[in-house]
C-alpha cells in the first residue's frame, strides 16, 4: 500500500496536467462517486476524423481519482474516439502502476468511466 502514493501519482495529483474546462467543447461529460465524493468532468475537442485535439479535466476528490484523470488526459492525446473506447481497467492500472482494493478501484476508474461515456455519447450523436 505504500506504493499507492508513489512519486508519480502524487506529482499528478499536486500538479495535474490538462486541468481546466474547454468552452466550447465537442464532448463534455461528468460523473461522481457519491460514496466518496469524487467528481470528474472531462471536455474534449475532436477533429473531423475523430482525433482528440484538445482535452481537459476538472473536478475534485482523492489523489487516486485526480491523478488517474491527469494521467489519462496525457495518454489520450491524438488518439481517436474509437481507440478511446478500447481503453480498459488494466490500462488505468498500468498507468498508475499500483494494485488497488475494490474501494479505491472505483476512485481510479471514475475518469475512464466519464471519458468512455462521453466518447460513446458523441458516436450516437454522429450516427443520428
Amino acid at each position: 500500500m505504500d506504493d499507492m502514493y508513489r512519486e508519480v501519482i502524487l506529482d499528478h495529483y499536486k500538479n495535474p496536467r490538462f486541468k481546466g474546462e474547454l468552452d466550447p467543447a465537442d464532448i463534455s461529460y461528468q460523473d461522481d462517486n457519491p460514496l466518496c465524493g469524487d467528481m470528474i468532468r472531462i471536455d474534449l475537442r475532436v477533429d473531423d476524423d475523430g482525433h482528440v485535439i484538445e482535452c481537459a479535466f476538472s473536478g475534485q476528490g482523492c489523489a487516486i481519482s485526480q491523478a488517474s484523470a491527469s494521467m489519462l488526459m496525457e495518454d489520450i492525446q491524438g488518439k481517436t474516439l474509437e481507440e478511446i473506447k478500447e481503453y480498459s481497467r488494466d490500462d488505468i492500472l498500468d498507468m498508475l502502476g499500483i494494485e488497488l482494493g475494490p474501494v479505491r478501484l472505483k476512485c481510479a476508474m471514475l475518469s475512464l468511466k466519464v471519458l468512455k461515456v462521453g466518447a460513446y455519447g458523441v458516436q450516437e450523436w454522429v450516427e443520428e
Binding site: M1, D2, M4, Y5, L10, Y13, K14, P34, L35, C36, G37, D38, G61, C62, A63, I64, V103, R104, C107
Partner: protein
Amino acid sequence: MTELFDAKRIKEDFPALKRNVKEGVSLVYLDTTATSQKPFEVLNVLADYYSNYNANVHRGIHTLAEEATAAYENARRIISEFINAGNVNEIIYVRNTTEAINLVAKTWGMKNLSEGDRIILTEMEHHSNLVPWQMLASSMGLNIDIIPVTDNGLLDLQVYDELLDKEPKAVCVTHMSNVLGTLNPIKSMAAKAHEHGAMILVDGAQSAPHMVVDVQDLDVDFFAFSAHKMCGPTGVGILWGKYDLLDAMPPFLGGGDMIKRVYLREFDTNDLPYKFEAGTPAIGEAIGMGAAVTYLNAIGMDNIWKHEQEIVAYAMNRLEEVPGIKMYGPDAERRGGVVAFTLKGVHPHDISQVLDIDGVAVRAGHHCAMPLHDRYDLVATARASFYLYNTHDDVDKLIDGLYKVKTLFK
C-alpha cells in the same frame, strides 16, 4: 487516568488488537464506531455454543436444545438488566439496529399513522433512522419534519419545540451521533414528545456500548442497539419497546416461532417477545451478546464512559495541534468517543490510506450520514473513534500518522 481503569490491560483481552497489519506494524484500531473488536470472553462463548450445545431453540426436547434455549433466554435477561427494561419480554432479538427501526416503522407505523401525519427526524441521523421513515412516509403520505443541527453540532432544540406544536405522531432521534459524537438530551426530548402525544424512538447504536442506559429513566418508547458495536458478534441486535406498545403492534415477519397456532388459512400470533422473532434466530450470537454485556458490566459502564471522555478530550487537544485539521461537532464534554475531522488539501480517503501504512485504522467517507455531511458542505470526513481498549499511545500514533500525511501531500 485512574489506576482502576487500565486500557492497556484491557487490550490484552482482544486478540485482534494484538495482530500486526503487516510485518512489524501493529494495529491501532480507531474504528469502533463502525464495529468494535471482540474479547476472548465473547469468542469463547461462541465457540462453546457451536462446539458443545449447538441446537435450535424452543420446542426441542433433548439435552442440547434445552441447553441452547436456556442460554439464549439467559442472555435476554442479562441484556434486559443492562438497559433496565421493566420486563424481560420487552427485549426483542433482531439482526441489528437497522432491522429494529424498520420493524417499528413497518408495524407501529402502519398501525398508528395515517396520511398527512407528521413525524420528526433530525439532520444528524444515521441513514438507518432516516430511510425506514422515508419509505413509510412515501407509502403512507406522511410529512417529515427535521430538527436541524447547529454549527457546533448540537440539535437545535428551539426548532424541536416549534415542530412539536405541529402535533407530530412520532419523534425518531439518535442518542449519540456516529459522526459528531453529540450526546442528545433524550430524557427531556422524550418528556416533551410525550407532552405532545408523540411516540419517541431512540437509535442507541452508539450510546448503549459506551454508557449506562436506563430505558425506564429515559422514558422513551423504543430503543434500538446492535451487539457488534459493544464487543458482541455481528448478526444480532435488540429492539426494546414498552410492553403495551409492542403488545398492540401487529407482527413483523411471519414464520416459525412467531405463532401460537397455525391453520391452513390463518394463524394465532405468539406472545412477546416471540411474536417478533420469526424463524431461527442468531442463537450463538445472542448468547455471545449476553457474554459481551457481562464482560462490559464487569468493567463497569461508568468506568468505560469516563475513560472515553478522557481519551476523546486528549485526542481533540492533540488534533488541535495539527495545522490544517478541522474537527466537527461539540466540545469533548458534550460528546462520546468519536471525532470526525478533515485535513486541508487532502481527501479523507487519502488520509485513511496513508494512516493504514502505519497500522492506524480510521474510517473515511460519509459514515452513513450523508445529510449531515451536506449540512457542513462536506462530501466526506475522516473519523477516529475510541473504546475501552484505546490508549493515549493510540492517539499519539494517529497524530504521528497525520503529520506523515501532511509531509506526503505538502
